[in-house]
Chain length 388, copies 2
Amino acid sequence: MINIAILGCGTVGGGVAELIEENFKEVKAAAGDDVRVKYILDIRDFKGTKYEKIVVNDINVIVNDPEIKIVCETMGGKEPACSYSKLALEHGISVCTSNKELVDFYGAELSEIARKHNCSYLFEASVGGGTPLLRTLKTLRHEKLDKVMGILNGTCNYILTKMRNEGMEFADALKLAQDKGYAERNPDADILGHDTARKIAILASLVSGKRVRYESVNCEGITKIDKLDFKYADKLNATIKLLGFYKEGHEVLVAPFLIKNNNALYNVNEAFNAILFHGNMLSDAMIYGSGAGRYPTASAVVSDVVELAKNFNKFIYNGLSLELNNNINQALKFKYFVRADKFIDGVQQLESFNDECAFITEPLSEAEFNNKFAGLEIKNKIRILEAI
Amino acid sequence: MINIAILGCGTVGGGVAELIEENFKEVKAAAGDDVRVKYILDIRDFKGTKYEKIVVNDINVIVNDPEIKIVCETMGGKEPACSYSKLALEHGISVCTSNKELVDFYGAELSEIARKHNCSYLFEASVGGGTPLLRTLKTLRHEKLDKVMGILNGTCNYILTKMRNEGMEFADALKLAQDKGYAERNPDADILGHDTARKIAILASLVSGKRVRYESVNCEGITKIDKLDFKYADKLNATIKLLGFYKEGHEVLVAPFLIKNNNALYNVNEAFNAILFHGNMLSDAMIYGSGAGRYPTASAVVSDVVELAKNFNKFIYNGLSLELNNNINQALKFKYFVRADKFIDGVQQLESFNDECAFITEPLSEAEFNNKFAGLEIKNKIRILEAI
């Protein structure tokens, strides 16, 4: 019997408990033994539910129970998730988490604590929700991975899909996403790109082997994208997606991109996520899956539980490092799609809607763009992703 | 130092040797120790090349060397690959292979031999080339997987992509594929669907946990697809792809499908492969990558080498079973796109080219189709994949 505890029984944590019950036989076959949720830590008391008898509100009950070998931290946020994870690891209890904020902020430190105490810190569910991404990247350590990019935020992808397929304005698509439960009442973390920035920071850290901080990501959200941008995109046989982008040696970027219809990312719609990566031998590969949602994310957490159950009393490699990545300075250059008040020489002019001038530039860094087009009134500019 | 032997130094085997040299540092980090190719078994002598000194032509030299812990079988075909693999496993030497024919034919038996001798039999490269597929499926044992389908043959996908994008006839696209080295001089195994059938048989076996034989796959190739089919597909905002298809409880099928442009498989072009699967908690996920090619396939073989290196002297679960799957009898029902000499009542008529009648049927099994349209002269019929 493998006894686990779930910290925070919200959407994801509750899903973990349900999955372990629903797929009891499969989880047992995978983990090699029965898996039981012995404790749920929550501020609620779950009176009258089946969780009533296993709810505790003191983390010490959990970390001092020698039967507990694994803790699922599905609380989110920095505290008390960080202190509780640290405490568990110091007691030799492995931790798996869906908490990208904590992984970005303190994941490397928690990994070092795990290493010292012969246990592990895993975080499959923190990037890409149910998308089986980090597990797959771990099987590619024999590759020289030099690029990773992807659609990492289901909320933004849902909004952009609605704008594209149903001709909605941004505000209406956002409202629909909120009504459907895809977006928070305060949607800033999603639509300003911060959530994607955290995820691409984690991916860039894993792929480069050195820590990339969220704060160092050059981040642009989707709030400026309007209906007209999609009309242009359509004429260019393209769509618009918010991407996280990392290429070895270059700035780490979050921004909306025009993506042509021959690209594997073009058809990743609704709340799905997809992540493309490139290895020197593998060439391109992509993983696609549900970027969010109770059960897909719970499935990712349980994949960690299984991995931990098969590797008790040792530290499992997780790709995090305390060493900072100082090689993320070179500016990325992209062609830009631009809507402005006039054309200038050398741009590829497009047929324009309304009174504006639409064109495509040569490949430019952001600084070069700002320099070159300083005299123009720019209504919008969107980077163009070349075929991968 | 981890000493390995490569059986058959052709496209894939040679790629494995090159990868281990080129990515020596990465392979070491992944495997936990230096990996060295100590022997290459081949009928050629590689005189004047760097392999000259390590070539042997007697399998006994390899299996009787106690330093050899891993053998990469990249010979292809049943014999002598089967005997050599068996011999290695009986000596406690783990085997990894790219040989789908052997995995389908005798993989479950070889796994049992491995289990008895505390070593392992892995076959990542046998399905999907470089696509990191089987590794990912293995991390989903806690899911109830009930469906897997995909584009599994790079040659067919290349031909269909050329027909679609460049309006080529089948024969011309096939010739181009041969000239480019994507198709064999005798292309039957690819274009008749047999290669895809072997791969979907392996996938169906892994997903169901019980053996599905190649012979039990209902298999239809792409030789009947012509230029005109793509003209109709285009009007339906669709394309045509050869899919392997497995759904729990149903016949295992290989056939060309019309795939709508909102499907994640729609943009999988050229020689790329992509495999979609569905789990009860995960929902849909897809893995995309290079379906063939020297280095991507070698990368898949080396991912097995790494896994084996981390698990010496034990049997690694590989999903194969000796028990036959007897639950693959229910007929699949699909809507069909049909080109015939006349319409019949109840079909959805399409605007037709030339003198023929094109229409879409209600969902039918193949037997129902043949029964219902017995009186018609059918020029072509293609199943339609509903959105997944």
